[in-house]
Each structure stands twice: as C-alpha cells, then as structure tokens.
Amino acid sequence: MADAHYHSIRFDDSACHGCMACLRICPTQAIRVRRGHAMMLEDRCIDCGECIKVCTKNAVLSLTAPPTGLGGFDYTVAIPSPALYTQFDLDVTPGTIHQALRNSGFDAAATLSWSCRAVTHAIDLFLSEYGGPWPLISSFCPSVVRLVQIKYPELVDQLLPVLSPREVAAREAKRTATAATGLPLDRIHAVYVTPCPAKMVSIVDHPGMEASFIDSAVGISDLFPLLAPVIREVQTSGAKVPETETAAGLGWAFSISLPSTLPAEDTMSVWGLPNVLRILDDIDKGKLQRYRFIECHACFEGCVSGALTVENPYVARARALRLQQSLPKRDPVDPADLRARHERGDFRTSVPFAVRPPQPLGRDIVTAIARMQERDRVAAQLPGIDCGACGSPACATFAEDVVLGAAEMAQCVVQRQAQLEEQLARLTGVGSPAGRGADGTGRPGDDGH
C-alpha cells in the first residue's frame, strides 16, 4: 500500500541537542527545532538525508533494516547499489563483494550491469516515441521524485516513466531465484543495499508502480562493518571469484547517465538539491523547453555521497572510474530481446506519478488570504536575518509558523532583545544603544542617535 506520509528518517530526541545544523541545511525547510529538539514537517520532507549527513550527534536515524534482521525468509537476494562497489579498496572487485554477500547470509546477490544497460536502452526507445511535454526529468532519485510531487505538482507528468535499474534488477533477480528454487515470487525477499534513506521511500511509497519489487533496504553504513571482514576472508581464501559485472553496464551507473541517442546539447545533468531546485523552478516557469532530458541527482556527488555511505565521495568516485577501466568491456544485453521487452512494456512504470502538495495556509481562499496577510504582518516585525534561534529556518517560515499557531512571537530572540532594550531605555531614561532598533523590529534604528 502506497504511503504518502511514510518517511525513512526519524529524529532521536534523546540524542538531539537542538543545535540547528539540520534546520539550516534542510533544502525543503522541513525541520523545526521545538523545545530543544529537531522535528520534521512530514508534508515537506523529501528524505534526502542531508540532516543525517550534517548531524554530529547521530540524532537523525535512517529507518533502513538492521543487517541482523535479514534472516527469516525462504530466500533472500541482495540488490547492491553501484555505490557499494566504491566503498572498498581498489583490489576488492564487484565479484568479491558478491561472494562476500553470499557468505554473509544472502542466498544470492544480483548483478547490476544488465539492468543498468537495459534501462539505458529502454530510455532511448521511450524517447524515440515520446512527443512531449519537454523536458523529461529523470525519476531514479527518490528524493527528486518526491520533491517534484510536493513542490512542482505541474511537473509530475514530465517525470521519466521508466523503471529504475534497481527495480529492474530486483525483478530479474526474483525471477531468476524462482526459476532456480521453485519458490513462489512472494517468498523471495529482495534487499537493496542502499547508499541513502530515500530508497526506503521508493520501496514503501513506490511512486509510478503498484508495488516495489524490492522488499526492504539495508544501509551501506550498517552493512559495512559486517561485510568488510568477510571480504577479507574471501580475498585471503585464494578462491577464484568470477567477475559478473561489466564496464558497459556500470559505466552508466557511475557517471552522467544521459540518454545516448540525444544530442548532448539537448540534455543536462544537475547535481545537488539547491541546483535541482533552481532547475525545477525554471522548468515550472516554462523555461528550458528546448531541452529533452534533464537528469537530476539530490546529492552533489551522486549516489556515492548518499547519507548512508562510509567512504569519502571523491575517493569513491575515483574508484568508480578505475572500476570502469578494469571491468570486462562486454555488453551484457541483447538489443533484439530488449526491443521485444520494451514493446511488452517491461520497463515502463505502471501507474502515473501522484502529486503530494503540502498543507496550504488555509482550507479555502478567503482563509488563505487572511493568513497570508497575517504572515506579512508578522514578517514585517521580524529582523529578516534568518538566524534560526526561534527554531524555524528563516524569518519567513517563522512568520508562517506563528500564523499557523505552531510558534509564538516571543520565540524571536532578536525582537525580544529589542523590546527589552526599549523597556530598559524607558525605565532608565537612557536611549537604546546605537545600531539597535527601538521600533521593536530588531532592525537598525534611524531614530535620533
């Protein structure tokens, strides 16, 4: 069942000191600090994990599965994110990692090359038949999808309706497992080894699909301490490990993944949520229609910098480049087979992407107008310095919180200070200090000193 309010992030009140690091970094202004602890506005969070990355107290938790809880299924198959391959030393090949995953309790580990390559072909075939509206927006980063659903509802129809490589990999791995074991599909458990919490959202909320082919996700950072020693064992055992991944497939996953059939000038690759926001904003204004395909990544360095990775993202990217050079060059897909599957709709999303607009300021336009007036009136009294001390990320959001009854004017420390100084000045007959406003706004005053 799709759950629009599901989030893969939780704040741990016992660990949170209310330091406001997450408040400031949240790209959708979905965090407030109230009574000394961070909390989430569920209708605005896109699960990008920036709060996890910035928190030094481990007070932001990812609701991925604990690696110890993966037993108890008839057959469990690991679906590694390509980012997993970049978290270990250069001599640790994907084949070694697959062997280590099998030695750690997974019944199988899926390869990604075929699904990555298949999806690139599927995008090319889809584009050859697509007539607009332009540009299409890539839909493989769950945070980008949720951002569009929440903030740009007019653009949901421009999300690429092609299944992600991870979903295709999980489906194919389940089919392979059923064929090998005779078990029914619903007894095969697919676990994504994820670089970020957002993938949990795509499993539970499954935008564009009736259900995800993936059943749960374990964070790379949770699995890493268990997997690393097993990898060493595989390496020291001297056993010959076959290499199943190929450069042709993984090259796409590790670099800019733009459709090969489009001229470069018709495409664009955008990295990092602040940049993604600006580009989506432009598309929303009717700009950029001459572009055909825009690839958007929530993370600045792509999936290797997800909130649940362990390696420095630049080291990880260097390893990814090296891996591309060292893996076999063989192309894992058969174009005729792919075209047949494409014609069956094998790579298409099955339901439209839903919109998820956040709660408006008022249920009806008259209420919304009144509250918006009130918001402007409150904002005019605020200093406009976005200090965050009130627990809202900016003065404008604080004004909104006040109007909605979620915050009180007295929480603005700058305004309170100005009021105190004014009272003090009245009591002592001495003017307020230069540079401080006596008008109660906290803005520098120009009244007579």
Partner: protein, 142 residues
C-alpha cells in the same frame, strides 16, 4: 462576496541578472502556500516571469505587485524604462528588440508579451516612450 484581498509588492532591479526571476518565484511560492490550483499558478508564474525578465532586460527599475482576491490573481508590473513605441508590433510573435547579449542568455525570441497574453485572462498594457511601461495581468481564480 468577500472583500478579502492579499497584496504584496516585489522590487525588480534593471540589469540585475543574478537575482532575475526572484520576484516571480516569490509570487509562485506565495500562491502555492495559499493552496491555489496548480494549473492557475503555472499560468501566473509564466506571465510574471516574462514580465519580470522584460523589466530586468530593458528597464532601470520596476516593481511587481501581486493582488489576490477570491475572484482573481492580478499582477501589476510597472517599470521606469524606455517604454514600448508600438504595442501592436511588440505583441506580434517573433518580434523582438533584444540585443545580442540578451539573446546570449536565451531571451529575445519575441515571445515575451505574446506568452503573457496567452497565459492570462486579461492583459492591459500602457506605455510611454522614455518613461516606462505598466502591464496589468489578470488570471481568474474560478
């Protein structure tokens, strides 16, 4: 009939390409917060953006005033600038006075005013050469 009305003014600086688009983004965000239907917001946003870019490209300074009532969204874009000598000509698709520098930035296709016209229910233009231009753009809420 309610006489509820929300009014907010946004300044626009001529030739400030760094902040160009901020006013129309602010208008769009405000309307989204108010829970207006998203197809309506998109039309308003496109019209507001075109008007804002015209001011940034041609005018010394300008202001956009957003007015929301239960019946209409009205944006008044008023600038101090060169004015439009022939409004009929300026409304023609493909007609443009953009400089090569403006074209370099992706403008100057001669679609600005026609695009505003297309995305609004009513567009009133008044202009005085050498003084400035005022656009009144109206989109009906229901």
């Amino acid at each position: 009939m309610s006489d509820a009305e929300f009014v907010h003014a946004y300044d626009v600086a001529g030739a400030d390409f760094t902040n160009a688009g901020r006013a129309s983004t602010g208008i769009k965000e405000t309307l989204k917060h108010m829970g207006l239907p998203s197809p309506l917001i998109r039309r308003v946003a496109i019209a507001a953006y075109e008007a804002e870019m015209n001011m940034v490209m041609y005018a010394r300074r300008g202001a956009m005033t957003l007015r929301v009532t239960p019946a209409d969204v009205v944006i008044v874009a008023r600038d101090e600038g060169p004015g439009i000598p022939d409004i009929g000509l300026a409304m023609r698709e493909g007609y443009s006075t953009a400089t090569p520098e403006m074209r370099e930035l992706g403008f100057g296709a001669g679609m600005g005013l026609p695009n505003i016209k297309r995305n609004t229910d009513d567009l009133a233009i008044s202009s005085e050469v050498g003084r400035g231009t005022t656009l009144v753009m109206t989109v009906h809420v229901s």
